[in-house]
């Protein structure tokens, strides 16, 4: 009986600490929802500038999440499967964007495009600074770091012997990778995509620095919150924030709620 009481005390104390964070987040969001405001919640659709920011946020975040996943899959696979010389340095470089303040990435991007190779890219390939492609680039750089970690974990959970077995059954190396390893790691890869998208959707610092905040041009939703807040429109900032919460929450619920059903 005493053992039972002790076990229950353990579980309750762990649960109390564990629920502290999610409850706090729920309370914070609830406060935003119930805070009295004088503007219409449909502001995001009625105001052309905000509607543009919404569309730009959605398009750039989806695009950069896809690019991030495309880059993170081979990177995560490499980090999971091989221990090449310099592996630790490589691993560190993949970690660095997570550890650095996001603003630093924005500064680094700005500096890079002032150098020779950066200017060459801008002149001959694509204009990145203070432009929409710059938003995608900044979001992607942030997203790749996180997505790579998740992809690595996903591949860590897939036995390295599986491709060998698939090859003995007649698969080529690529078939073994796509039809077996990628397929077995698919839940993790979906997680990586979702994480990359959430990072991209909510990113602000590096984008503000690198792409600027120009209305109807490079303004995304997170920039709108900052812009509205900086000119004292707390109500409008709040509405945009709530829409961001709703969009991100819905997307997460849809993707995560599908459980482990195979995507292919």
């Amino acid at each position: 009986m005493r053992l039972d009481v002790r076990n229950r005390a353990f579980t309750v104390s762990m649960a109390l600490v564990a629920v502290l964070y999610p409850v706090s987040i729920a309370v914070l969001i609830a406060c935003c929802f119930v805070y009295p405001r004088d503007v219409s919640p449909w502001l995001l659709w009625s105001e052309p500038a905000l509607r543009h920011a919404l569309m730009l946020s959605l398009v750039t975040s989806i695009l950069s999440a896809l690019i991030a996943l495309f880059l993170a899959i081979p990177s995560g696979y490499l980090l999971s499967r091989y221990r090449v010389p310099g592996w630790r340095v490589l691993d560190l470089l993949f970690y660095l964007p997570i550890a650095l303040p996001p603003l630093v990435m924005g500064v680094a991007l700005l500096i890079f495009f002032q150098t020779g190779p950066g200017r060459f890219i801008q002149r001959h390939l694509c204009e990145f600074t203070f432009s929409v492609p710059g938003i995608v680039l900044a979001q992607t750089i942030m997203g790749v770091a996180f997505a790579t970690r998740i992809c690595k974990l996903a591949f860590d959970n897939v036995s390295p012997k599986l491709p060998g077995v698939a090859r003995t059954l007649g698969a080529t190396r690529w078939q073994a990778f796509v039809r077996v390893e990628l397929a077995e790691a698919r839940s993790g890869l979906v997680e990586a995509l979702v994480l990359a998208w959430t990072i991209a959707f909510g990113a602000f610092g590096p984008i503000a620095l690198f792409s600027g905040i120009t209305r109807m041009r490079t303004e995304i939703l997170s920039s709108s919150v900052f812009l509205e807040f900086s000119v004292g429109n707390l109500d409008r900032a709040l509405v945009v924030s709530l829409w961001m919460v709703a969009i991100a929450g819905t997307a997460l619920a849809i993707v995560r709620g599908r459980g482990k059903r195979p995507l292919w």
Binding site: G164, T168, G170
Partner: protein, 335 residues
């Protein structure tokens, strides 16, 4: 008789481990067991056969083709790894159809084979289940079925029953043997368990650390081990250093004829079950005697040597047992 698998001086390495050149033929329809202790290189040899490792030297022929540097996909093998390695999130049926999908039925009629594999391995109730939810025995059957679906020239099994509970192994081994006969499949089975090897093997290939030491039918390996390692590994508990002189060896103070061997230093080995007990013979004093699954194992001393013998009753310590060593059962090894 054709040889679906021919290994010529095949050598390989895994980290610091070196597999010394191995030469071995596997005969058509044969069930060969690659037997040895953990870490002796059995799995390495099997992986070299599969093409999952690059050999340092030597050649591999499967189905008469030189596949030494061929991709695993081109070897026409059926490989069942130690822990089965099923595609866990996929259903049993998906696992079974994997090879057929890749090979587009060019070598066989996939539907007909699938039906036959499902029937033989009794997989019908498991077809819709994700592989990761299956029990050890079910996974083993699915892994075997998946390998058979590739219509292989040779089936390569890496410790196929070691992940199963002890009580199931014998039954599963008999099942493996039945399937091998039914599909008339040349099979190489890697294991470290002598009982398992004797249950399924037409021939045993014994490996010591990094090298193949003896290949032969079970009787030959058990009765005439080539060295002390093989004798010890096959549970031959009697091995004594002896000198052959004038066609005789002296063992515990008694002389035994050993006419075939030239004079010199040897180890004499005799299996416990070949030591004859009775009312006459040399007197041995019992040290211990315990019941084993099929007989009683008794340890006794004869002069200055200790010997093991198999009997049908438990003896008390200190009891005198009379034994005879049939000279034809005593085998002399140099290593």
């Amino acid at each position: 008789m054709s040889t679906p698998v021919r290994i010529e001086a095949l050598a390989g390495a895994v980290g610091a481990f070196r597999l010394l050149p191995v030469t071995l033929d596997v005969i058509e329809g044969e069930y060969l067991v690659l037997l040895g202790p953990s870490g002796c290189g059995k799995t390495t040899l099997l992986e070299l056969l599969c093409g999952l490792r690059k050999p340092q030297s030597g050649r591999v022929y499967i189905g008469g083709r030189d596949v030494t540097h061929a991709d695993p996909a081109e070897r026409h093998i059926g490989y069942v790894p130690q822990d089965y390695q099923l595609f866990g999130s996929r259903t049993t049926e998906w696992n079974l159809r994997f090879a057929a999908r890749l090979r587009q039925s060019s070598r066989f009629d996939a539907s007909e084979r699938l039906a036959s594999v499902i029937r033989m391995l009794r997989l019908e109730p498991l077809l819709r289940q994700p592989a990761q939810t299956l029990s050890g025995g079910e996974q083993q059957r699915v892994a075997l079925g998946r390998a058979l679906m590739a219509n292989p020239d040779v089936l390569l099994l890496d410790e196929p029953v070691s992940a199963l509970p002890e009580s199931m192994r014998d039954q599963v081994c008999l099942e493996l043997k039945r399937l091998q006969r039914e599909f008339q499949l040349t099979t190489v089975h890697v294991c470290h368990n002598l009982d398992e090897a004797l249950t399924v093997g037409d021939r045993l290939a014994l490996m010591e650390v990094g090298r193949l030491v003896q290949v032969g039918p079970p009787d030959e390996v058990l009765d005439r081990p080539v060295n002390r390692f093989v004798a010890e590994f096959t549970h031959c508990r009697n091995s004594w250093p002896v000198e052959v002189s004038q066609g005789m060896i002296r063992l515990g103070g008694i002389g035994i004829a050993a006419t075939a061997a030239p004079a010199g230093a040897y180890h004499a080995v005799i299996r416990p079950e070949h030591v004859v007990t009775g009312d006459t013979g040399h007197a041995c004093r019992v040290i211990s005697s315990e019941r084993r699954p099929y007989a009683v194992l008794t340890r006794a001393t004869l002069g200055d040597v200790q010997l093991a013998l198999v009997d049908d009753r438990v003896h008390a310590p200190g009891e005198i047992v009379r034994v005879v060593f049939p000279p034809e059962r005593i085998h002399l090894v140099t290593e």
